[in-house]
């Protein structure tokens, strides 16, 4: 059984989100009174075709700040494609444009190679750009910017390709199984690098934090692909366990990163400040620091969303592979609304 797809936002749903009866957290539309997912945004195969272009054009992998202009520019670029425009409109209505532009997956990842490759390319380039900043830091943090990182990015790209290619095989199970093993390892290594970066205390912390963001994105890319491949293998329980684990680990690791840490890191290069200078720096740097802290929250929500979605899929008896296959071939809209439980709306 596959759940129905909604290509437009029902007016009552829109009204309840606007009035606060329903709460939107990331791609999820939640009912706080019942603690259940009312609906969630899900990307389709059509989204895979154009998000890669959007991601390549962004200054950072996560750029919620530029959401409005990017969405407008996307609308112009795809003005001939009614389906894409409709999807963009859906995101705008729900105020979720930043999510897709963030490069994070909406709903269950479809692990399409084109978009994954674009994300990895973006990540790798931003990492390389940061290397020069790290070189200026007296105390280099071992293994945060070396060939091993580059090699792991290449390995992640290869595994993502392997997962995507699996969809064309008559019997992809063995290939997907080995890919899942590799993804576990890569996810762990990027997580470990992010932890070490966060543990660093010293001059140049701001550059290290940017680096950490890159590693966390790599973790999320590996984990969302892992969840996708487990779902494709029909093992929703394993997918759910993987989703819960990465959410818990990420929450534990990044909860401490907030405005205070980011501001301290950004103010540090300004040296000893007078109280007036400190006030000026706090006011000047607060907004960018807030954006950086929010990006960590966005990632935590993204990681935390997969588990409840998978739980609902299991409860509704959804066939994971058939579901992903249907979404991957969907071309009527890049984004759809999905509900696995019609009793909670």
């Amino acid at each position: 059984m596959l759940p129905p797809l909604l290509f437009e936002i029902p007016s009552d749903l829109q009204a309840k989100v606007a009035s606060g009866v329903y709460r939107q957290v990331g791609a999820l539309i939640l009912n706080p009174a019942t603690g259940r997912i009312v609906k969630h945004l899900q990307q389709t195969g059509l989204a895979q075709e154009f998000t890669g272009h959007l991601i390549c054009g962004l200054p950072n992998l996560l750029s919620p700040i530029s959401m409005v202009t990017q969405l407008a520019s996307a609308a112009v670029t795809y003005s001939q494609n009614r389906a894409i425009l409709q999807g963009i409109e859906m995101l705008k209505i729900l105020g979720s444009g930043g999510l897709i532009l963030s490069g994070l997956d909406l709903g269950v990842s479809l692990a399409g190679f084109a978009v994954t490759s674009a994300k990895l390319d973006r990540l790798n380039r931003s990492m390389s750009a940061m290397d020069s900043k790290l070189d200026q830091i007296g105390r280099r943090v071992e293994d945060l910017h070396d060939a091993a990182v580059h090699n792991d990015f290449l390995a992640l790209e290869a595994v993502c390709k392997q997962v995507d290619d699996g969809w064309m095989l008559a019997d992809p199970m063995a290939s997907w199984s080995s890919a899942a093993d590799a993804l576990y390892g890569l996810q762990g290594r990027f997580m470990d690098r992010a932890r070490r970066g966060l543990a660093f205390n010293g001059p140049g912390k701001a550059a290290i934090l940017e680096r950490v963001e890159g590693f966390v994105d790599a973790v999320l890319l590996a984990s969302s692909t892992l969840i996708s491949v487990r779902t494709a293998m029909g093992d929703l329980t394993a997918a759910r366990v993987a989703a819960d684990r990465i959410s818990r680990d990420l929450n534990q690791m990044t909860a401490a990163i907030g405005l205070r840490e980011v501001l301290a890191a950004q103010i540090e290069p300004e040296g000893q400040l007078t109280p007036a200078g400190r006030i000026d720096a706090l006011e000047r740097l607060r907004e960018p620091a807030q954006h950086q802290a929010q990006r960590f929250r966005l990632r935590e929500v993204q990681a935390g969303s997969a588990g409840p979605i998978l739980q609902d899929m299991m409860a509704a008896g959804v066939d994971g592979r058939a579901w992903l296959a249907a979404l991957r071939s969907e071309r009527r809209s890049p984004f759809v609304l999905v509900s696995y439980d019609t009793t909670n709306a």
């Binding site: 909860a255 907030g258 205070r260 109280p275 400190r278 929500v301 409840p308």
Partner: protein, 231 residues
């Protein structure tokens, strides 16, 4: 799980909002106090200041510091409490749901009062330990942690005595070398003492620093601990 996602995000955003507010408010407080100290010194009788600087500080400067500090920190607390209300409303809505959901939320939103009893008493210098719970008033439904405390409060604000102790911890009356200094240097020393106490930096009074907790750090840590311990 869903409860945890909503509450966790709310608490962390609350933490960031409060921390940003606290940092800039306390730095502004320092600027204000330095100006006020300069005013009071300008009005002081020179011979009295030179002869009894400690007494001058105790009777004139400390009350000014205490009053200003109380006002600034009360404002911080009120804003923190106000910002916490919608999160508290969500938590209470969720708490009225089924027991499994409450238990699940409880796992994530640890008891905030435990934060106080375990590790977050405010220490205002070696002589002014304020061993009160980190989150002053707890409601009966405190099981959901920070989100359900009736009123958010910081122990540094509990009672005028504590605030006075905070002012004293600035060290104006306890700085041993003060009485031996000429009056013209008193302002510099007061500025340094205030800076050290509030921001913990920019002061050469290193021998004194061991006794003084950085007030800004304490307040920020208090907010940070309260939020982080519940997520």
């Amino acid at each position: 799980m869903i409860d945890a996602i909503i509450l966790r995000r709310g608490i962390l955003e609350w933490r960031d909002e409060c921390l940003g507010d606290a940092d800039i408010t306390l730095t502004r407080l320092l600027c204000d106090l330095q100006g006020l100290v300069a005013d009071e010194l300008g009005k002081a009788v020179t011979w009295r200041l030179a002869a009894f600087p400690a007494q001058f500080c105790e009777t004139v400067i400390d009350p000014v510091v205490a009053r200003r500090m109380h006002r600034a920190m009360s404002g911080l607390q009120e804003r923190a409490d106000k910002a916490l209300r919608p999160i508290r409303d969500d938590a209470l809505t969720m708490a009225t749901q089924s027991t499994p959901r409450l238990l699940a939320a409880r796992d994530v939103m640890k008891t905030a009062l435990d934060v106080g009893s375990v590790g977050a008493p405010m220490v205002l210098g070696a002589w002014a330990v304020v061993a009160v719970p980190a989150l002053g008033v707890g409601s009966a439904t405190a099981a959901l942690g920070l989100a359900t405390v009736a009123t958010f409060s910081m122990p540094i604000l509990v009672g005028g005595v504590v605030v006075a102790a905070a002012a004293t911890s600035v060290g104006l009356t306890r700085f041993g070398g003060l009485s031996k200094r000429i009056s013209g240097r008193v302002k510099d020393q007061l500025d340094q003492a205030l800076t050290l106490a509030i921001l913990g930096e920019g002061s050469a009074l290193t021998t004194f620093s061991a006794e003084i907790e950085r007030i800004t750090d304490m307040v920020l840590k208090e907010l940070d601990d309260a939020a982080t311990a519940t997520v």
